[in-house]
């Protein structure tokens, strides 16, 4: 799909829509990620809590086993028997001593699940073990404990050592303490099953807990947990050697968290979207206020000016760039208007009747010769067409001429036409009909020279010469107009006159007559403007100076005066080099304030302004 033309409004709204859609998608994505991140954080946090709780449980186990180990380690019978060397009998006595806690109990019996008691020689060889408790354990100390003990110095070996280790019967927790106190004669290993204590993790974390073996067996099977609405959080409890021992799963009730997150997500997303919407609407309003509306008005004004309404002004409100563009366009239009006035005045100087018609045959322009010849007033011209003025069908004549390619020199057609005056009087006139572009359409320019009834050769020759001269003038005027329009169309900034108008005075005024004429015209414009301002708008001269901000207001003895403006109202006091642009600005300001009201004063002011512009233009042309 190829897009050739798009309005600024369409493009802007499309961009805003895209921004809005992207904002919605982003907010939804952000919400989902936020939710997932919160869940992950919750899982990580609970996993850490389970880890700390499991360490706490093992610490409790260690305390119990240490106390039991110390109690037994200082048992004099055990110490003595361990030192005896009478083999089998001593072994039996040791076994009996080690079975005693299983049979008679001990302090903290209910807090741990004692599964085995073993005694070792100082070089860690197994001497004896309790016959009570589980069977099937390896008959040696776990490798981890052996490594820890052998790494230690003699004094350090008196310290108790704990270890969670993997036995043939699953993970076991052992505490190794010296037998005989500071004068150790061997070691006692207290072995307990940690599965008995691990479910207590749930009491610390305040969540349901399931403990699984690494093979996947559910160990604390007695606790049934309804996990449907709970978030499972897993923690792997490692042995002291770093091997996985248990899989502990805590179940977190995340319904409240989910509800809170949903609420937070809704509020943040909604807030974000609301802010985005408000921002976009505000931006759209700004665009509309300072771009779309002024641009539309400017384009409309430009269109009307392009259609020939050169008296209109282009909207200059809105963005600075558009204001500059509008001013440039208006300056260009003023130049065109001035040139057009020049041309019209030039055409009025001609004795021939020059008429211009549009593509529908409607009258567009009559010079003074034409209005005099046909007897119409200026305001009646716009209601006329070819049929009202000529007895022949001009359009058909031109078509025939083009088809036959006869009597045509260049594009012009030389012919004698029957003409009809306003009062109905018919007369014959030599005519040169020239096809022409009129306001972008096809039209005709007709130059007429009435034929006298007298038939002497001198007059005939005069008429022939006159027709040729008219034709030459017409070509000159056309070329001039085309060149001006071309310049205006392609290069508005290059048109001279705008800068000239802003100059304080015209340097081309060389003669005193020129200067006097200019001053008179200045005074004429200013008087017309002031008259219009005072009579039609019922305002004072002081108001004009203050509201237009063109003329300074002075305070003389507490009375506001307009000394500068006053100078421009009389020829005697008018400066020798008057500020022409100020005069033009004043006249235009008054015309704008009239707001399309048509009064005699306005017409006079407009006429004076046009004459003044024409004078300036004429003077500049003369200068060139």
């Amino acid at each position: 799909m190829r897009i050739d033309k798009l309005s600024i409004k369409t493009v802007t709204i499309a961009i805003f829509l895209m921004v809005g859609i992207v904002a919605i998608i982003l907010s939804l994505f952000a919400g989902a990620y936020f939710r997932q991140a919160a869940m992950d954080a919750q899982v990580g946090s609970l996993s850490r809590v389970i880890e700390v709780a499991s360490q706490e449980i093992l610490r409790d186990v260690s305390k119990q086993t240490f106390d039991l180990g110390m109690k037994l380690g200082h048992n004099k019978q055990l110490i003595q028997t361990l030192q005896e060397t009478d083999g089998e009998a001593a072994h039996e006595r040791l076994t009996t001593l080690l079975d005693d806690p299983f049979i008679n109990g001990f302090v903290g019996f209910a807090k741990i699940n004692l599964v085995k008691l073993r005694v070792y020689s100082p070089d860690l060889a197994l001497v004896a073990e309790s016959s009570a408790g589980i069977t099937g354990l390896e008959n040696y100390l776990s490798e981890y404990l052996v490594a820890r003990v052998t790494q230690r110095s003699k004094t350090e070996r008196l310290q108790a050592i704990d270890a969670l280790w993997l036995s043939a019967k699953g993970p076991m927790y052992s505490t190794l303490v010296p037998v005989g106190g500071l004068r150790a004669v061997g070691y006692l290993e207290v072995i307990v099953d940690p599965v008995f204590n691990l479910p207590d993790i749930g009491n610390i974390t305040k969540t349901p807990i399931s403990v699984f073996s690494m093979a996947g067996a559910h160990i604390n099977i007695n606790e049934q947990v309804d996990t449907d609405s709970l978030l499972p959080v897993e923690f792997i409890l490692l042995t002291f050697a770093g091997e996985p021992a248990f899989r502990i799963v805590g179940y977190e009730d995340v319904s409240r968290l989910s509800k809170t997150m949903e609420h937070t997500q809704m509020v943040t997303t909604g807030g974000f979207l609301l802010l985005t919407l408000i921002t976009l609407l505000f931006a759209l309003w700004l665009f509309s206020r300072f771009l779309f509306v002024p641009l539309g008005q400017m384009v409309e004004g430009m269109k009307q000016i392009a259609q020939g309404k050169l008296n209109l002004t282009v909207n200059k409100k809105g963005l600075h760039e558009f204001s500059t563009l509008a001013k440039s366009f208006e300056s260009m239009a003023n130049q065109v208007k001035i040139r057009t006035n020049d041309l019209e005045r030039l055409l009025d100087l001609d004795n021939s009747a020059i008429l211009c018609f549009g593509h529908d045959g409607e009258a567009v322009y009559f010079n003074k010769g034409a209005t005099a010849l046909f007897g119409y007033q200026d305001d009646e011209i716009s209601d006329l067409d070819l049929g009202d003025l000529f007895s022949e069908d001009i359009v058909q004549l031109m078509k025939d001429a083009v088809r036959l390619n006869a009597a045509v020199q260049g594009n012009a057609l030389h012919i004698q036409l029957g003409c009809i005056r306003k009062d109905g009087h018919a007369f014959q006139s030599d005519a040169v009909i020239n096809p022409l572009d009129v306001m972008g359409g096809f039209g005709y320019t007709i130059v007429l020279n009435p034929v006298s009834d007298e038939t002497d050769d001198g007059l005939t020759n005069y008429l022939v010469n006159s027709i040729e001269q008219n034709e030459q003038r017409m070509h000159a005027v056309e070329q001039s107009l085309n060149s001006i329009l071309e310049i205006a169309k392609n290069n508005p900034g290059m048109i001279s006159g705008v800068g000239d108008l802003e100059r304080p005075a015209l340097p081309g005024l060389k003669t005193d007559d020129d200067k006097r004429l200019l001053r008179e015209q200045v005074v004429q414009v200013m008087q017309s403007a002031l008259a219009c301002w005072e009579h039609d708008l019922n305002k004072t001269k002081l108001d004009l100076a203050e509201e237009s901000k063109i003329w300074p207001v002075y305070i003389d003895k507490s009375t506001p005066t307009t000394r500068t403006l006053d100078k421009y109202l009389h020829t005697d006091s008018c400066p020798k080099n008057p500020r022409n642009q100020r005069v033009i600005d004043t006249a235009e300001f008054v015309l704008r304030q009239m707001n399309r009201r048509t009064t005699l004063g306005r017409r006079q002011l407009q006429q004076a302004l046009d004459d003044f512009r024409g004078l300036i233009s004429g003077l500049k042309t003369a200068k060139k």
Binding site: M70, T155, Q159, A160, P178, G181, L182
Partner: protein, 139 residues
């Protein structure tokens, strides 16, 4: 107004100071400070060493260092000490609950005043001993 502000500031500071337990001195003149491992080595190497537990009896019963006798610092009198350790050059080792316990340092001060010259101080005390999971005797 200033008086009240000053008054309450002093009261508040006093409460804070009272709530904070003081530390035992870093060192004591004429006394050798030893660690837990050095205590073990001294006990094993010197059968004449007298270890005195300056804590309360209830604390002593819950657990103490092997061979230690319990004499609370406030109950330590010259007659009893002379009876237990007549020779004032005999090695005497004192301990209590730890660095925040002032009982053993008080006992050492008394013993030094009474002329005992071979004094050792296990400043880390019971806290250090149990943290290192060394053998304890419970009664």
């Amino acid at each position: 107004m200033k008086f009240f502000v000053l008054f309450f500031s002093v009261i508040f500071a006093g409460i804070l100071i009272a709530g904070e337990k003081p530390y035992a001195p870093e060192k004591m003149p004429g006394t050798t400070i030893v660690s837990a491992e050095e205590v073990i080595e001294m006990i094993l190497a010197n059968p004449e060493l007298v270890v005195i537990d300056s804590r309360k009896k209830t604390e002593y019963i819950k657990g103490h260092i092997e061979g230690a006798m319990n004499i609370l610092n406030t109950e330590l009198v010259l007659e009893d000490l002379e009876f237990i350790v007549p020779d004032r050059t005999t090695a005497l080792l004192f301990y209590c609950n730890g660095v925040r316990c002032l009982r053993s340092s008080d006992s050492i001060t008394r013993a030094a005043r009474w002329g005992y010259t071979n004094l050792f101080w296990f400043r880390g005390g019971w806290k250090e001993w149990t943290e290192k999971r060394l053998p304890v005797v419970t009664d």
